[in-house]
Subunit: 231 residues, 4 copies
């Protein structure tokens, strides 16, 4: 079942430790098959050395396991909610990568301070609020998804233009058209959080990038007038 997508998800999970985004098993990647309304996700707490593509778990958009002998990632209900509500995304990544996590713990949006940011994120990356105790009781992982979705609705953000979020006191989620793109966006978000940290320490009055430069950099890589790369 969905063998090709399982392989993609498996390989994308292996990218996380290679890119220095995770230690041990502190992360997970998934990818969706939109035609079948199913997604593939990493099993929970399995050593990366022992894991194979066959260990990947197939779930539906309610987070139910459809196929797989192992428990899916404990964050599966969050992925399910995001696939349901963000209808154009194809892959999702969750890590506790250090720099994005530091900003998440600080409860701060990541401002667009440079073109490294603007090449991938079309504006600040929002930090979503703490869940309430009622939400935690009702279903921590599922409500985490709802808080993300509501944050994007409130800020009127397009999830493909701002393909990531921080969760206050927790860590980042990123996404993209594919699992691979979601991983790359996780790398960019962590790098941008690092650079912005040092920028702010150097100069607490440092300005955000002017809107017309943000536009220029984002749009030279994305959308119909893009001219970056070989397309």
């Amino acid at each position: 079942m969905l063998e090709k997508l399982k392989e993609e998800v498996f390989l994308a999970n292996l990218e996380l430790p290679k890119q220095g985004l995770i230690k041990y098993t502190w992360g997970n990647v998934s990818a969706v098959d939109r035609s079948q309304k199913l997604f593939i996700i990493k099993p929970s707490g399995v050593d990366y050395d022992a894991m194979t593509a066959d260990d990947m778990v197939v779930c539906d958009f309610e987070g139910n396991v459809i196929e797989g002998k192992l428990n899916p990632s404990s964050d599966t209900p969050t992925h399910a909610v995001l696939y349901k509500h963000f209808e154009d995304i194809g892959g999702i990544v969750h890590t506790h990568s250090q720099w994005a996590t530091a900003w998440a713990q600080a409860g701060l949006d990541v401002p667009a301070m440079g073109t490294t940011h603007a090449d991938t994120f079309y504006g600040p990356v929002p930090c979503a609020r703490f869940l309430t105790s009622e939400e935690v009781e009702r279903g921590y992982e599922k409500e985490t998804g709802h808080v993300i979705v509501n944050t994007f609705a409130e800020h009127k953000l397009d999830p493909l233009e701002v393909p990531g979020v921080l969760l206050h006191g927790h860590a980042p989620f990123t996404w993209g058209k594919t699992a691979d793109e979601a991983v790359m966006n996780a790398v960019v978000l962590d790098e941008v959080c690092k650079m912005n940290f040092y920028t702010r320490q150097l100069n607490s009055y440092a300005e955000e990038l002017p809107q017309y430069i943000l536009d220029k950099h984002y749009l030279r890589k994305h959308g119909k007038d893009a001219y970056y790369g070989q397309k």
Copy 2:
């Protein structure tokens, strides 16, 4: 004598440089055999390249060498006191890992600022006081153990729920049910100290994690209602 445990302790010691927790020989791991009231510990100041499982030293809970041709780690009396008083722990790690050591030198408890912390430590990791000059004279390494034990008694902490401590002006000790778990806890403590450092620099008013989220994350991985992993 205790050949299997020697191998475990040997391999766990090799993990320290692999995980970036130590330089040269600045660390030590031990593990206990509760039935015999003996523990195995690394020899003192031996190059990791030259060391073998056979070089591990067997000690009793008074810190006496029971078997072994080399001197045990100079921190052996600290390990002995911890095994005697923390009756459920199986392995102990001491390193001068950089981030935990920075917090130890700063004399600060490590606050629970995020879920990375909450997944392993059920609340702040305490920083124990400097030894007095009388304690240093009486027996530096043994009294270090007593200061740790007293710190946990005063804070009414369960050593398995908060499996680590900082020593003011010195560095961390961590422990766990096994030597391997103690190493993993040393990795987590250093990572958390790093993330919390950056969090505080970004936002000196950053809040600690709400108690109900701390509960949720710790208890989804530990105790009878845990649902993380494949158990």
Copy 3:
């Protein structure tokens, strides 16, 4: 056409990830043939693993492609302007290396705080201003080149004595007599930005290097009285 220079440019591009200056394809190196008024540059957005010397693109000083089946780096017009105006330089590097980018985002010149700086840069490395919205509209990459050239004219700087610049809100450009030297200057600039960051955090009153020590270190490595190395 210019096969030897293509090979040099290809190898110099591969140095960027090796030296930790870039992630993915976020950088580019070029080198010039002054006799033909042509330069060779990396293609845009091509994976470093898949790239070959043959993929390098030949351009003239207006940024037109003279030979090559792939699109050149989107920053090609900046390189073209620099080769046209800085008549003694032989190679150019652009990266988003983290430390230099942090200073660029902070909008700060890099002061000469130590001899590591003085061995390569004969005085502060300037941070050029944001482009105006008119300049961005007129041609972002070409105008970036003009802003660099004007910054050097205003500060009366010799591009070979100060072989690099920061662009506010963006990242560094460095150059040198060859592509290899330009890469080495990119490494030095990033290292100096890192050291100066920590220096300033340690002591916000830290002094710049006295002029006579700056002279001594720069001139023992550069110019007719140099005595460093084997020349």
Copy 4:
């Protein structure tokens, strides 16, 4: 001539990039033969990949080349002065390692804030003053040696108890009984500078280590009552 010592110096130089203390050729190691009053030092500006033990240069205590086909390190006169005045040292290391260099640029002594420091340095590591312009003119590298020697005399420091120094605006020198020990001391100094940086940022009121703990840690590793290791 002194083939065994050349091999030692060669290998100790190779340790510098392995330990992350230098980039390119920014460092040098030497070792002395006290009976012949000669020392061996790395040649100036030679690539580490191309260098062999045979390329090492033999010098006397005035810095004259006694044997060797290459120019010695440009810092040779500094080494010569140190061997002449610090009569018990056997090896010297100079690097621009990032953390020690940051403290040197900040012009600050490195305080003894923890036991990592106390295990190697018996008290603060001093930062020597800038050279005057007269000293630079008279002979920059030789006068650098004199400033180090005078700093130790003024502070009444034993060079084997405090085996290193920072030079304001420049970088560290370390030394030891052998070239290998001097390299290890360079690693410790950089690590301590890193830890102390983070300690100070966490808590600007952080105390230095009490004298009796400094004594305890230094003396358990050094001197007649040492009990660390296998001696």
